[in-house]
């Protein structure tokens, strides 16, 4: 019983990490069909932001809270730069964006290696996240609790933006139907840029959060990117609810499998399970019906 509870908690917190990472992708992938492999490097940029902020503030208690918005900004600006310099020319060739952004990711990784050096950097967690609290008799690390709350907060904020702001309405209109949105006078160029900014910004936030769990190094992003895309694909491209379900589902599955088997075998089985799942539901958990052909 205890073991099951422990795995539920571990699975949920792993799912929250996946969710944080995949959230931005859902937006960029969902809205523009851009397969941004450099998303992982935006996460890395967020993590280095946390490192720089904690160095500048000399590890004050608030450095994490400062780093979150700064990380969002840095990730978002990188996203804007990518969109404006490269991606805007490629909307007609969505599949090609995968390789182009992979190339961008490679360059960003090497830049990080040259700027910050190859050794991993440690970002100390603030004291108020030190230790754990008992939930149902299970010691839940505060850092993981923080990440779950952060993921929930990001989802809520994103929903609020999409639901209640003019920008959100424009984004939803453009996702729903690009041509129609344009005939209604929405500047899809601007919406694209805004979407990319938010999506990439979320990657930055995820990066800041990840420093609580692991190391900050040039390869940070690559270890997450494949999984993140799988989450988006399983969730149904462009669907927030689907992404949430998929992230938690994959997190839990992985946790239970890792408990019963070994970490490596668990990873392989999760991958295969996803392939099998897509056989049953090629459109992911949630799917849109369209009247369009092809």
């Amino acid at each position: 019983m205890d073991a099951i509870l422990a795995q539920v908690f571990t699975g949920i917190s792993a799912g929250a990490v996946l969710l944080l990472i995949a959230l931005g992708l859902t937006l960029t992938f969902g809205q523009m069909g851009v397969i941004n492999m450099a998303h992982g490097e935006f996460i890395m940029a967020g993590a280095y932001t946390a490192f720089v902020v904690s160095t500048i503030t000399a590890g004050t208690e608030l450095s994490l809270l400062i780093a979150l918005p700064v990380g969002f900004l840095i990730g978002g600006l990188l996203g804007l730069a990518l969109e404006a310099s490269v991606l805007r020319w490629m909307y007609a060739r969505p599949l090609d964006t995968l390789l182009v952004t992979y190339g961008v990711g490679l360059v960003l990784q090497q830049v990080a290696r040259d700027v910050f050096g190859a050794p991993a950097k440690e970002v100390p967690a603030p004291d108020w996240l030190d230790g754990s609290i008992p939930i149902l008799g299970y010691d839940f690390p505060l850092t993981r609790l923080f990440i779950i709350l952060l993921a929930a907060g990001c989802v809520a904020a994103l929903l609020a933006v999409l639901r209640f702001t003019a920008l959100g309405r424009e984004i939803r209109a453009t996702v729903g139907n690009r041509d129609l949105a344009e005939t209604l006078g929405i500047s899809t160029r601007r919406t694209d840029r805004a979407t990319f900014f938010i999506g990439s910004g979320l990657a930055g936030v995820a990066g800041v959060a990840l420093t609580l769990l692991g190391s900050t190094g040039p390869n940070l992003g690559t270890s997450y990117i494949v999984q993140a895309f799988l989450v988006v694909v399983v969730g149904g491209i462009g669907h927030l609810k689907g992404t949430i379900v998929a992230a938690l589902g994959i997190g839990l599955l992985q946790a239970f499998l890792a408990h019963a088997l070994t970490g490596s075998v668990a990873q392989v089985i999760v991958f295969l399970a996803i392939v099998a799942f897509l056989q049953l539901r090629p459109q992911g958990i949630l799917s849109v019906r369209t009247r369009s052909l092809a």
Partner: protein, 359 residues
């Protein structure tokens, strides 16, 4: 008819040039070590030729060809390890990490003939089943790309986890012989080079045939209008499946040859990064052209070696820039440049035809 002649004759001229360069020029001027490297690039190029078909002609972004490269490579490596161990013998690493017993699924590979069959047939089975499942369910585009990438990742993790039977992260290496020929002998390494270069050239010829065949035309049709093809009475899934299987077999053959030439295969050679690396040459050379993928793969292999020798660490920048610049600005790769050059030369012949077309 005149135009079609121009279009078709030039690839063969290019092929002949490539053949002369690989079979006559390179062995004459390169040292044994450099020739060995070229042999390695040829293995990548064989896989690249297949990617050219699946990606360039078929529009399937095969991000996980390392899977098939690895199937061929590991099948060959397992055979070589068993051959080294002798009849009934146990490969050295198994005695070291495991319980010194050869697992049942290794045993058939003791026979060289079985190994060759496995290298050719296993990718057909795996790619066939996978392709059937994926294409029949109309999973395509980004979904397909990400799935194929995840499979390569899963395959590499699986290999790393099975230390006792696959050598884990170390991979398999330390091969003494190749079908009876001692691998330490430079003469035999040259022979391996000729085998690799020869198979590369033959696979390009086979590809030329496929491009010109009705299948080749149909494949392009599927790439450009998959849904439309359905209404011409053909299930595009079957067409894609065939191209995917051919690409898988070529990757497997490339992987199998890679093993005796490089002297090692490890999970790093089959994972996500290696799989995308295989695409670099194809993109550079021109994904849809006949010679592009092979020539691109050879160039990228050469560039990687010489750049990493001259400036360690710079390869990341170079590969990154290559992906960005080529795909953004020159999606047709070097073949596009060659085509543009040719059109400029042939410009005088064109106007009459253009008029006819405009009517």
């Amino acid at each position: 008819m005149k135009t079609s002649k121009i279009k078709h004759s030039s690839p063969y001229a290019g092929w002949l040039l490539l053949a002369i360069a690989l079979l006559v020029l390179a062995p004459a001027v390169l040292s044994d070590f450099r020739l060995g490297l070229l042999a390695k690039y040829c293995c990548y190029a064989i896989a690249a030729v297949g990617i050219g078909l699946a990606w360039g002609r078929g529009g399937m972004l095969v991000l996980g060809q390392g899977l098939y490269f690895g199937l061929g490579a590991y099948a060959m490596a397992m055979h070589l390890k068993l051959a080294d161990a002798g009849p009934g013998g146990v490969p050295d690493f198994m005695a070291l990490y495991g319980d010194a017993a050869v697992p049942w699924w290794w045993e058939p590979l003791r026979s060289g003939a079985v190994a060759v069959v496995v290298i050719l047939v296993l990718p057909v089975i795996v790619a066939g089943l996978l392709g059937l499942a994926v294409f029949k369910r109309r999973i395509k585009g980004a979904y397909f790309a990400i799935l194929s990438q995840a499979l390569a990742a899963a395959f590499a993790i699986l290999l790393i986890g099975q230390v006792k039977t696959t050598g884990g992260a170390n991979g398999l290496n330390n091969f003494q012989g190749f079908f009876g020929y001692a691998l330490f002998d430079p003469a035999n390494k040259r022979m391996l080079y000729f085998v690799a270069a020869g198979i590369l050239l033959v696979s390009i010829l086979a590809m030329a045939w496929l491009h010109r065949s009705r299948f080749g035309e149909l494949l392009v049709a599927v790439r450009d209008g998959e849904e439309r093809v359905r209404f011409l009475g053909t299930d595009p899934a079957n067409v894609k499946l065939a191209a995917y299987v051919v690409a898988a077999v070529l990757a497997s053959v490339g992987g199998a040859l890679f093993v005796p030439i490089a002297g090692i295969v490890s999970p790093d050679d089959v994972g996500v990064v290696a799989s995308i690396g295989l695409l670099a040459g194809v993109a550079l050379g021109g994904r849809a052209s006949l010679l592009g993928p092979a020539v691109g793969a050879l160039l990228v292999g050469y560039a990687e070696t010489s750049l990493s020798e001259a400036f360690p660490g710079s390869w990341s920048y170079f590969q990154g820039a290559l992906f960005v610049l080529v795909i953004l600005l020159l999606p047709g790769g070097l073949a596009q440049l060659v085509g543009m050059a040719k059109r400029t030369v042939a410009h005088r012949e064109r106007p009459a035809l253009e008029e006819a077309a405009a009517r």
